[in-house]
Every structure is written in C-alpha cells, then in structure tokens.
Subunit: 310 residues, 2 copies
C-alpha cells in the first residue's frame, strides 16, 4: 500500500509519522492544533532534498567555474590553491585556522561580480553540467519523495523553508522552479554585497565580508535571524542539522517533528553517511532515539528516489 | 471622493498613482504584467508605517528599559553613558568612530538575554508605555492610510515586507498583529545570537556581534540578503530609504513604484522632515522628481492619519 499523499514512499514508519504529525497539528479544536502562521517547516538541502555525495552541488559548480576560466586566465592556472581545488585536495584547502585556501577559492568563484552576473554563471552551469552518477543536470537529480513532502506540507498550510549550508545566492537561482520554494524562504550561507549605482543602474557586488556559515549551530542562529520564528518541523540528514533538529524539537511549546534522511541505498544513491570516512550522521543518529526523531532509511522507506527512477 | 480601496486617502495624485500602478502590474496579458511571485513591496517602518518623531519607538523602548532597571541596578545609574542616554545627549552617545556610547547602551538593553526574555521585555513595554503626543500604546499609533495600502497590495497578491533600520527582533514581536506582516517578512538591523541547549531547552542568546545596520545602502544589501529578489514597490520617508528607492526603481526590468511619505502635518502629526535640524528628507526629496517617485504630502493627501482620528 502507498500513502496517498506521499506516493513515492513505502507505507512504513516514516511516512506514517509524517502524515500523523500533519493530521495532528491541523485538527482544529484540539490542544495540538497549530495556527497556519506558525506552521514553519525547515529543510536542509544537500543530502536532504538532493544528493551531497560524492560532491556537494555547489562545490561541483565552483570546480567547473575554475575549469571554465583557466583557459583564458593563466594566473588562475598557476595558483597553487586552484590546483589544490582541482585535485580535490581538501586537506590543503582547509589548512590553517582560517582555511585560507578554501576562502581563496570561494573568493575567486563567488565574489567580485554583481549578483546578476553570478546568476548568469549559475544558470549557464545548470544547463551544461551533469551529475557524475546520473548524467543529468543537477537540478533534475532531486529526491522525488521529498518533493512530495514539500507539496503535502504546503497543501496543509505549512510554509516551507530551506535552511542549508549552501550559499543563499547559489540556491535561490533554481530552488523556486525545482522545489516551489521562493528565494525569500531560503536561508543559506551568506556574505554581504556592496550597493552601487552604475550607469547601467543599481547593482550589488558580491564579497566575502561578514561571511555567515549556515551550518551546525549556525542553523538555529540563521533560522532566528532570517525567519524569526521557531519551526515545528525539521528535515535534515547530517550532524550539520543536529542543532536545528534540537531547536525544533526539544521543549517546543508546540507539537514538533524531526526527521533524518539516512543514506542507506548503495544502488539507487550512495550508502555513505553512518561510518568513516564520510560519517556525516554519527552524532545525530545517536541522538535520534532519545529525541524521537524519525530516521528515514532511504533503501527501505522510499519506493523511488528520483523522478527518473522506474 | 474617496478611492474605494484606500478610504483614508484623499483622491489626490498619490492615491491615484498607487492604484494605477497596482492595476497596471496585475493586468494579465500585458507587457506590464508582473507574476504574483515577483510582486515584492518593501516598507520602511519608522516614519513610514508609524511615527519616528520626536523619538523612534525602539529608542523609547531602550530608554524605558534603562529607567525600569535603574532602581535595582545601581551600577547602571552610575554609568556615564546611561546618564547621557537618559538625557538624550545624542552627541555624547555618538562620539568617536565606533559610537562606543551608543553601542554600550544597545548592548545593555538588547543583549545578554535570550530571545524569549527579550520578547517578554518588549511585550511588557508595549502594554505599559504610551506615546508622548497621543497618550496611547505605541502599537496603536500607526498610520491608518498605510495599513490600507498594505491590505490593498496583499489583496492584489503582493507580498509585503518591512525593511527598516529598527531591530528585527524588536519589530517581529508586534508587527504581525499590527500590520499583518509575519516575522519572516521583516528585514531589520540584526546581530547574531548564540545557540545553547540548556536544561530548560534550546535558547538563543542575543549579542551585538556582526551587527548589520539595515539603513541607507544597507537597505538594498539587506533586501538582497533576506529576500533575494528585487522589489517592484518601495515606500519610505527619509534619506535612509533613498538607496532602496533607487534599487527598486532605477532600470528595473519590471514596472516599479516608489513613494516618499513627506511629514507636513504639524497638527495631526509633526512637520519636521524637510529642513534642519531633523532634515530627514533632504536628499531623497531632491531626487524624487528625477526618478518619478511619488511624494505623499501627509497634510493634504491623507483624510486621517490614525485610526483614532475622527
């Protein structure tokens, strides 16, 4: 049997738990009823709405940007940190207290241009780049079951937000078309822009100043700063989501729901998250039972993973 | 005659301009049609939705907080910057490159507590404090004609945002009830919180770290960072709103609208903004004609200013 609201899910505990929660908080006249304005649901992106393994989508974009520019920018080719990035030598990029190598790569690919120029770069990349495993554009490699959760929640007057370590500027370009989430409901890593009025009109130039990394304890901080309201539902997949799962579910005066996407499917996706070397889910999994967070086993609980799966 | 959608407005140029703009962008099948998702309208708060003269509401809160705490905190009474604040000695508070005095006052009244404790402080203040001219709680001293604009825009599928120099945490507590604007549509001055899980549950503790002042060129920067989409309508009242008026209206590929609230009514409100010493509107007024911004003359264009006016 298939839950009618979630057709790509098996009729196992996670789908039942999602539906039971939504039915509980939308039933008027009960103590558990939550007014629509407070039905805030937050979703991590990388690993929760689309794959993060073997490479987070935004890192793929960054590497492709370097490759695209190297033929016409010899200084770039000679840069040791660019070479480290292209070799995916994370140890070198993360060296030092301030991760100077990584910061340099981010500065090279995410700053110095206007927000509109950056938009063009990302849009061109989405058209040309292909996911290494599936051979499809990244914005088609999306977890179909999670799209169904987003739609089901919105049909029940939830407001759905992304809360991700990815760059807000990067995600906002494509998430509306893909997830139905407008840019103003995307909380991500950000840094400031500078405002200028040029002959062509006003522009915002991207910098790395005041970098805010929306990950780990940064996630509840970002939720407060951008949304200003405590969520009642939280969907994540890694230790980076642990703090926002805590913020959503521990002693929340409203009923609340937490779910962890556990990457167990080595065939349709990747089985990588519960052990070394990736081990993205070590602490959060330990805490799940204690907190009552639902653990979704991708292999067993999802009828299909992507829209293009049979 | 009264515009039906804006009953507190006289049937003069500003009301006509607002209605003409809304009718233009909502007419399907025309080149000027703007899809609902892009109908972003931004409103300054102080001086645009509620009075800012003789004292911005949040400063009144800050002074009242100091007065409330002084009887039980002798160190506070002895602090020279607290004394300067209570004497409204702005020159002393703003001394030095980093405005150390002002920062100290902000730190004393806006930081160190959890976001929930801060909420309690603001809620208690809203119940007890009275506006010096009108003798009413601050959240009742609201421009009725602007409430009508907010409702009219929302009825036409605009999404209304506040973009204000005021603190986001301060505004979000009361703007939903007063303006119908939810916390997640409030862009204001912010600083970071720190996340902790205490025995009582998760808390966010307010700090002044990474202070972002959402004023002047900070307004388009804040709009990009929090909304991620260029507005098509902008309502402001001072030079602090000039940059976001520029960002909204200059070479916007969509039709756009800018309006300046000009404080000309010395009886029902205050006439203060076009000349020294306050002079809040000197540059923006000069630019209005060139840019086609509508200048609203409060005395002549508004039938009433507050809901409690006859």
């Amino acid at each position: 049997m298939t839950p009618r609201a979630l057709p790509s899910w098996n009729d196992t505990a996670p789908a039942k738990a999602i539906i039971a929660f939504v039915e509980k908080v939308t039933k008027e006249g009960t103590a558990d009823f939550v007014p629509p304005a407070e039905r805030i649901a937050v979703f991590d992106n990388d690993g929760t709405l689309w794959p993060e393994y073997p490479l987070v989508g935004q890192l793929a974009f960054i590497l492709d940007e370097l490759k695209r520019r190297i033929p016409t920018e010899p200084a770039l080719a000679a840069d040791p940190m660019v070479q480290a990035a292209l070799a995916v030598d994370l140890a070198k990029l993360l060296e030092g207290k301030h991760h100077d190598g990584l910061m340099r790569i981010l500065a090279l690919t995410l700053t110095g241009m206007t927000t509109e120029e950056f938009r063009s770069n990302v849009e061109a990349w989405l058209v040309s780049a292909k996911h290494p495993k599936y051979g499809k554009p990244y914005d088609q490699v999306i977890y179909q079951p999670m799209l169904e959760v987003l739609r089901y929640l919105r049909a029940n007057d939830f407001k759905t937000f992304i809360v991700s370590g990815g760059g807000a500027d990067f995600m906002r370009i494509w998430v509306e078309g893909v997830y139905g989430i407008p840019p103003e409901q995307v909380v991500g890593s950000t840094s400031r822009t500078t405002f200028e009025v040029r002959d062509s009109g006003p522009v915002l130039v991207k910098t790395l100043d005041y970098l805010f990394v929306d990950d780990k304890v940064g996630k509840p901080v970002g939720i407060h700063q951008f949304i200003g309201r405590r969520p009642i539902a939280c969907f994540g997949n890694s230790d980076g989501d642990q703090a926002m799962l805590q913020y959503t579910t521990i002693n929340n005066p409203r009923p609340s729901f937490g779910l962890i996407v556990h990457h167990t499917d080595g065939e349709r996706e990747f089985a990588y998250d519960a052990s070394a070397p990736w081990g993205a889910l070590v602490d959060a999994l330990k805490e799940a039972a204690q907190r009552g967070w639902t653990v979704l086993d991708m292999k067993n609980d999802w009828k299909r993973v992507f829209a293009f799966d049979q």
